[in-house]
């Protein structure tokens, strides 16, 4: 009864720990580097800034649908889920461990604005180490799945890490991009991008656009049970083809997209191009209706 209620709770609203508890098999989670060890950020301590005992990320092993997995969950409410040296080392260590332990998958619950600016170069290096470890895990045949549905989305270095994953699962609330809206507005001006226009932010970075463009493979409702059942489904199917030919085909499609979608400034342009009957209504659609419409009107990108 209690577990049932928990699983229907919002993923967006849940803490990193509550997300893991709501997604994995009950009682199966075993945390690595737990908070009791107090492995906090030496950089934040030097800056006399607040610390977190887990440095804003929870990592460990668990079972999902009785399959062994490794899982990491970033805590978006601690410094925007930003990746510092310790935070990054925990994710990197998890990916290195995957090569040794061969779990069914590594699941990254991404909720991050990117590098922790307080930690400067150490944070940047941490991100690049995560990328290298992620490639090593994939080369060893371990699928890496990214989940994006938290308040910080997946931006900066963690946006890149998310797109490197084999499968991306998002909710409409999730956002995925490189530079965040405020960053674009600051650098290029409000005429280029109005970060206060939340509808615009979601039409250009949100889950529905990412699903339409094929960057997210699944769009699910914002509740723990919807994420859990989709992740279980992914674990049950053969992993995506990472052979060189498939990667080259992906690269060609992305290259073609740069020209075919060059004049698209807004999700509305994309949905119009895909042939959605009422593009301006797309942000208001519920997830099921959106998924049905997308199946009927997939975005065709001409390959050159």
């Amino acid at each position: 009864m209690n577990a049932k209620r928990l699983n229907q709770a919002s993923y967006y609203e849940a803490s990193a720990r509550a997300r893991i508890a709501g997604l994995v098999d009950a009682g199966s989670f075993d945390e690595f580097c737990p908070p009791a060890l107090q492995q906090t950020s030496p950089h934040l301590a030097l800056l006399d800034a607040p610390l977190a005992f887990d440095d804003g990320v929870v990592v460990g092993s668990a079972r999902m649908d009785n399959r062994p997995i490794l899982i990491a969950a970033q805590e978006g409410r601690f410094n925007g889920g930003s990746v510092g040296e310790v935070h990054g080392a925990k994710i990197r260590g998890l990916l290195i461990r995957a090569v040794r332990e061969k779990p069914a998958a590594v699941i990254l619950l991404v909720d991050s604005g990117g590098v922790r600016l307080h930690e400067a170069n150490a944070g940047l290096i941490a991100i690049s180490e995560i990328m290298r470890a992620l490639l090593d895990a994939q080369a060893a045949g371990i699928p890496v799945i990214a989940v994006v549905g938290g308040s910080c989305g997946a931006f900066g270095g963690m946006g890149i890490v998310t797109r490197m994953c084999d499968v991306v699962v998002m909710s409409e609330e999730g956002r995925l991009s490189l530079s965040g809206p405020e960053v674009i507005e600051t650098v290029k001006g409000v005429g280029e991008f109005d970060a206060k226009d939340k509808a615009l932010v979601w039409r250009t970075t949100g889950g529905k656009l990412r699903r339409t463009l094929g960057e997210a493979a699944y769009l699910v409702d914002d509740n723990l049970d919807a994420f859990r059942s989709t992740l279980a489904e992914i674990l049950g199917i053969a992993r995506p083809d990472n052979a060189l030919a498939a990667l080259k085909a992906d690269q060609a499609a992305l290259t073609a997209r740069r020209s075919t979608l060059a004049d698209s400034a807004d999700g509305l342009d994309i949905w119009r191009r895909a042939g959605f009957p009422a593009p301006e209504q797309v942000p208001m659609l519920d997830t099921d209706t959106f998924n049905i419409l997308l199946a009927a009107h997939p975005l065709e990108l001409a390959h050159e």
């Binding site: 737990p34 908070p35 009791a36 607040p50 610390l51 977190a52 005992f53 887990d54 409410r77 601690f78």
Partner: protein, 104 residues
């Protein structure tokens, strides 16, 4: 940041088999870590707070919490980002309740 340790005496013994963490360090919030220690009728509380100059208030809130709960032999560590006394009390009680539900 201000860092200090507050020691509480309590003859009622705590029973925490697994360390418990409650709360997230974000503006106006805090995290509370509760662990068993071997210090008999003493509970030590390590406070790391961004609000400088409120040690007396922490002392009062923790003394009140100590009167109502079995804290002997417990070690508490707190990372605080400016939570109000009411939020601190709530979080302490939440951590205490979760430590009990996880030992049963």
């Amino acid at each position: 940041m201000e860092h200090f340790q507050i020691t509480l005496s309590n003859s009622a013994r705590a029973d925490i088999r697994q360390p418990v963490l409650c709360g997230v360090v974000s503006s106006g919030n805090l995290e509370v870590l509760m662990m068993q220690s071997d210090s008999g009728g003493i509970c030590t509380v390590d406070v790391n707070t961004s609000a400088v100059g409120f040690r007396d208030v922490w002392q009062a809130v923790l003394a009140d919490f100590n009167e109502r709960h079995a804290l002997g032999g417990m070690k508490i560590a707190i990372n605080d980002a400016g939570a109000t006394p009411a939020v601190v009390s709530l979080r302490l009680r939440q951590a205490y309740e979760s430590s009990r539900s996880e030992t049963q």
